[in-house]
Symmetry: C2
Subunit: 201 residues, 2 copies
DNA sequence: CACAGACTGGACCTACCGGTCCAAAAGGAG
DNA sequence: CTCCTTTTGGACCGGTAGGTCCAGTCTGTG
């Protein structure tokens, strides 16, 4: 039998339990470092159930990617409106604060998955690229809005600016994680913000 | 018996063959995705030799990290002198060109290793952090030189600027790898360069 | 209350992985 | 030539990983 959608409330709860456990374990130990037996134990679920809801590990990982993207975006309520300098600055502050709280552990969940899967699982790569798109879009739209409002210069390119900012986030997180120092993200984001600001109208 | 330094020319050649093969395989498939048997086969070497020169997989991985850092720095001859705007711009161009040549595959070898090992192997994390230090230092020194030469404003902080630039590289590479588009690095580096330039005296 | 379909538990299988061990070959120094 | 160290080949081992299978238990519906 192949994969099965849960058809009862209980089934959905089980599937969710598995996905929650898998998402957290994968964030903590990576895909390769997380065995299905670990997931099974953490979700207090039997092997049979795992394979009832997911075709194989790859299938589970794809579901984990999806949930991870949702979590990362969900953890940034500020994404809802990035159409003012204050909003953008506040959003950056939140990102840094999150790393301080986490003691600079873990890096970016999406970025980490990308590093681990991009070369081995083309579908995963595409899904993660989609995650970055959904992350970048709100900033791009916010900048566009600011352009319309006359806060951002006409000549500025919201698309490139948003990409450069996302790159600063990712790079800042790589350095933060490797050096175990949240200030690395602070430095990267301060630079990114100042760069954006240089296009202020 | 524990690990052994090669004492003959032949032994050194064997150890190098193993390390070369391991470094390449790890770059292509990650640490978890590279089995010692893969390394053994690629280096045309027997199991006994592997454990003659390396205590265990972790030991081999540490050696791979060392070699990887050397390779990454070695691939950037421009690091030797980054004390002019032209030199910095040329260095950035080279980095982008490298990604174009590689078809945006692989990302940053150091960053990838960091993502995979930072949370599981503290010693590896420290070694990789050291790699970033050695990468960042030449730019910092170049900027300092430019400051002394009156090309960079007095108020600028070479340390932060170098960190922000390295973050742009890393982030640009993450996006490049995930989106399979070398232009992502181009955008990140153009932004980083413009930011540096905003501190020109 | 019956029964079909959804769900659950866990024994079991095979492949592969990191790691051990040891005997044989190579090769330089006396 | 001899002897000792270095180097080499590969059989072997225990653990664990992903994955299969199926019998048994729920559960909602007619």
């Amino acid at each position: 039998m192949t994969v099965a959608e849960p058809r009862t409330e209980k089934g959905r709860a089980t599937r969710n339990r598995v996905l929650d456990a898998a998402t957290e374990l994968v964030f903590e130990h990576g895909v390769a470092g997380t065995s299905l037996d670990d997931v099974r134990a953490a979700a207090t679920v039997s092997k049979g159930q795992l394979y009832h809801y997911f075709a194989d590990k790859e299938d589970l990982v794809h579901a984990v990617i999806d949930r991870t993207v949702q979590q990362v975006l969900g953890a940034q309520p500020a994404l809802a409106d990035l159409s003012s300098w204050a909003a953008i600055a506040g959003w950056c502050d939140d990102l840094v604060q999150l790393q301080v709280d986490r003691h600079a552990i873990g890096g970016c969940p999406i970025g980490s998955l990308a590093g681990e899967l991009a070369e081995t699982d083309e579908k995963a790569r595409a899904e993660l690229a989609g995650g970055f798109d959904r992350w970048e879009a709100p900033l791009r739209e916010g900048l566009r809005q600011m352009q319309a409002d006359g806060k951002l210069r006409r000549g500025a390119d919201p698309t490139s600016l948003a990409t450069a900012t996302l790159a600063a986030i990712q790079g800042g997180l790589v350095l933060t994680q490797t050096r175990r120092d949240p200030q690395q993200l602070r430095i990267a984001l301060d630079a990114a913000y100042a760069y954006l600001r240089s296009f202020a109208a």
